[in-house]
């Protein structure tokens, strides 16, 4: 069926996200919550995440512009960000958040800045990949049950 290729493509994309370490088991938890009542649950959550976390990213950026660094505040922001990221299964982003927090605890400003740059990269990469993923999912999604092999 036509949809099969899409489904297959979706599966490939999904596998790659996991294999490359962008997503972890928590993402699967979200997928399992998706049901007929909430057919786009995962996409909705991820969209909400990117919207809300953008605010925290901005806060951190602003905080990094003020010298000297308020490490406590930075750590608090990152704690928030980490919690959010981990809840959608953003593995690499979460890992980088941990690194950042370590730098905060050791009062390493340079480390914080470097880590934050890396974090933003991972964050952007994941968003790109997930957006592509959901695009395919939307096309392939509704047909999923219909296309399920007997």
């Amino acid at each position: 069926m036509e949809r099969n290729p899409m489904r297959r493509q979706l599966q490939t994309m999904r596998k790659s996200l996991f294999d490359q370490g962008h997503l972890d088991e928590q993402f699967v938890q979200l997928e399992e919550l998706q049901d007929d009542a909430n057919p786009n649950f995962v996409e909705e959550v991820v969209t909400l995440y990117y919207r809300d976390s953008a605010r925290i990213i901005l806060n951190i950026e602003q905080a990094l512009e003020r010298k000297p660094f308020d490490f406590n505040k930075l750590d608090a922001y990152m704690h928030q960000f980490k919690g959010s990221s981990s809840s959608i299964g953003a593995k690499k982003v979460k890992a980088e958040s941990t690194v950042f927090r370590e730098y905060c605890r050791s009062r390493n400003g340079e480390g914080c800045m470097r880590s934050f740059q890396q974090l933003k990269k991972e964050y952007a990469t994941l968003r790109r990949k997930l957006e592509a993923y959901f695009q395919v999912a939307r096309q392939a999604g509704p047909m999923e049950t219909a296309c399920r092999p007997k």
Binding site: L33, V45, H79, Q80, G83, S87
Partner: protein, 682 residues
């Protein structure tokens, strides 16, 4: 809640089952056993992503979910509908309120099982959850499997409550008589013991209000009367807080009909209270000691009682009804601690009552609202003390160990009350002393300040009203005000304090206060100058000079924290202190005392606030610890020492203190916002 849970489950189960009729699993679950389907969960998290996920997960578990992104909103939701939820899940880090503070509030007011969550899995944080009474701690990201079993906490709690219920019959009876409460308000919510009902016995003016609100429980609970609480505290002290296990406590108490579960839950609350007061883990021991002092035995527990206790104490009318009455009539004015209530003592009680929503939320700011109330207690007393003063008193009161006295102190104590209050305050806590002193010279002292002090439980008022209020909230700092208010208020009045610490009733000292009227006179003379009623400290100072001993005790407690916190508090206290100074206490006397008192007060303030509250003002910890110590100390010692013979305050104080102790345990509907120092309308 228990009884409603069952019903709720039934209805919710069916509805949820209906919702998911199509879902085979849901249908199966509903059919097989409705519970835990339909469990009413309130989830609080400021992170919208997490909140959305949790909601979905909980719905998948067939629970009835209500989500909330602000702690304050959650708290008000819970307050409005005390039996509307079965379990609460809350994040630890939230912008408007610390998750642990919310936890405490819920535990005190509603006694619902609370599960904490955090991405932080550090041992310390998890430990904090345990010590604050969380029934579980989930590490984020939360998996659905972890949520599937949360119903066990509800069942467990219910099971324990019923057990208590069954056992509490005999105990309650006894308490009833003691308290003479009009009706055992077993239904007081959240608390295991019906502190509220015990408080009622005196038929305090305000009590009824408070009680009604709080009594939402369906089943009777053990009523932790003042005496019972005293016994409890005595037992705990005897064993040592670290070694105090429910079984041994039960044995020591030797109260027929009391179960180990009753004691266990009471102990948990007490520990929370102590912890809150001291802000330092080690305190439990210290606190207890101080509390336990001879009279205070009840106070000790006060801390744990926190809002509850105070009210209970007040309610139980531990405070000699007469003293309360005297206090009130003398000038307290309205017994109802609530705003401007004359029942300074009662307000103090509130100290315990963490409930005071005001205290809680506005920790800093609220306080003063609450304080005002408390202050009002004094209102009878013409003291010109500003709310701040009250705050100061409160703080002192708080240190008292949340003596309910605060309530009294705020009071509206009219001038007359002052002496009484003062007396009461004395025993109660240093803070109270301040109130008392104010009492002496004219209610002024007590008024706003005096009273609130007690009730505010030292709530943060110190720095400003808020400061005191905080104190109140936190552990039952009220002690200080208690004395003053106690006198004025009728013991039963505890309820008056709008939610503030327990009404006078709680302050044991009150009873003794009444006779002390004479004291008042003396105080008046001393205080005349000072209007403001210096925050509880002053009172103590004043009183102290008569009784150096009292101060010592207090100081002891305080010093412990004082050293650490006083610095922080200083800022806050300063104004309280200054107020005191203005009061014109007999400097001579006070000096000696004052010093200690000051320290005390300082500490009191800080400690008063129990972690939560204190923070608002100073940094929480310091206060708590201070207060705890302070309060504890105060209790035991002050009662007698604080007041000079002529004042007879001692008696009052002790009476108040005693009352407070006792009352505190009594459950109290947290409803009383007015009680805790917070309510003191500063």
């Amino acid at each position: 809640m228990n009884s409603s849970i069952g019903k709720a489950y039934m209805s919710t189960a069916s509805s949820s089952a209906g919702r998911k009729a199509g879902d085979a699993a849901a249908a199966a679950a509903a059919a097989a056993d409705q519970f835990p389907a339909g469990l009413r969960v309130l989830v609080v998290d400021d992170d919208p992503t997490c909140l959305m996920i949790l909601e979905k997960m909980l719905r998948t578990c067939l629970y009835e979910v209500t989500k909330c992104n602000r702690a304050e909103t959650a708290l008000s939701m819970l307050r409005e509908n005390k039996n509307g939820f079965d379990v609460v899940i809350s994040d630890v880090h939230m912008p408007d309120m610390d998750g642990f503070k919310l936890l405490e509030h819920i535990g005190l007011e509603m006694d619902l099982p609370v599960i904490m969550m955090s991405a932080d899995d550090g041992k310390h944080v998890v430990m904090k959850g345990v010590t604050h009474g969380a029934c579980d701690y989930l590490i984020k990201p939360v998996r659905i499997e972890a949520l599937k079993n949360i119903w066990q906490h509800v069942v467990r709690k219910r099971k324990n409550e019923w057990k208590d219920f069954e056992q509490s019959g005999s105990v309650e009876e006894g308490d009833r008589q003691l308290k003479q409460s009009e009706d055992a308000d077993y239904s007081s919510s959240a608390n295991e013991g019906n502190w509220k009902s015990s408080k009622r016995r005196k038929d305090d003016e305000d009590e009824t209000d408070e009680r009604d609100d709080t009594s939402s429980l369906k089943k009777p609970r053990v009523v932790w009367s003042v005496e019972l609480h005293q016994q409890f505290v005595a037992a705990v002290n005897q064993l040592g807080i670290d070694k105090a296990v429910p079984k041994k406590i039960l044995e020591l108490m030797n109260v027929p009909g009391l179960t180990r579960e009753n004691v266990a839950s009471h102990l948990q609350k007490y520990r929370l209270y102590l912890r809150r007061l001291s802000g330092v883990s080690q305190h439990p021991g210290n606190l207890n000691n101080s509390f336990m002092s001879p009279q205070e035995a009840t106070f000790g527990p006060l801390s744990s009682l926190s809002g509850l206790d105070l009210q209970t104490l007040a309610a139980t009318g531990q405070l000699p009804a007469q003293s309360l009455v005297t206090l009130q009539s003398s000038g307290l004015g309205r017994p109802t601690g609530k705003s401007g209530i004359p029942m300074p003592l009662i307000d103090q009680r509130n100290i315990f009552s963490f409930e005071n929503p005001k205290l809680r939320f506005g920790e800093g700011q609220q306080q003063h609202v609450n304080n005002n109330k408390q202050m009002n207690l004094l209102h009878g007393i013409p003291t010109t003390m500003e709310p701040k003063q009250l705050a100061g008193l409160h703080h002192g009161a708080q240190s008292m160990g949340n003596m309910n006295m605060q309530v009294a102190s705020h009071g509206s104590q009219s001038s007359q009350n002052n002496p009484l209050l003062m007396q009461m305050a004395q025993p109660q806590a240093r803070g109270q002393m301040l109130n008392d002193s104010s009492l002496g010279h004219a209610p002024r002292l007590l008024s706003p300040m005096g009273q609130p002090m007690l009730s505010n439980g030292i709530a943060a008022n110190v720095p400003t009203r808020n400061g005191i209020q905080e104190n109140i909230r936190a552990p039952s700092y009220n002690p200080v005000p208690q004395t003053s208010s106690m006198l004025n208020f009728p013991m039963n009045h505890a309820s008056e304090l709008p939610g503030n610490s327990y009404p006078l009733g709680s302050t044991p000292g009150i009873s003794s206060l009444t006779p002390k009227v004479a004291f008042r006179e003396d105080v008046n003379s001393d205080i005349k100058g000072s209007v403001g009623f210096l925050p509880s400290y002053d009172i103590f100072n004043d009183l102290d000079h008569h009784k150096p001993q009292n101060w010592e005790l207090q100081n002891v407690g305080m010093t412990f924290d004082a050293s650490q916190h006083s610095n922080s508090l200083q800022g806050n206290l300063n104004h309280a202190q200054s107020v005191l100074v203005q009061q014109g206490f007999s400097s001579g006397q006070m000096n000696g005392q004052n010093r200690s008192a000051t320290v005390v007060s300082k500490t009191m303030f800080s400690s008063g606030d129990s972690t939560g509250h204190v923070n608002a003002q100073n940094g929480n910890q310091p206060l708590n610890s201070l207060l705890v110590d302070g309060t504890v100390r105060v209790k035991s010692e002050t009662p007698t020492n604080l007041y000079p013979d002529d004042f007879g305050q001692e008696d009052l104080m002790s009476a108040l203190l005693k009352q407070q102790d006792v009352i505190a345990p009594a459950e109290h509907e947290f409803d009383f916002d007015g009680y805790s120092l917070d309510n003191i309308p500063v």
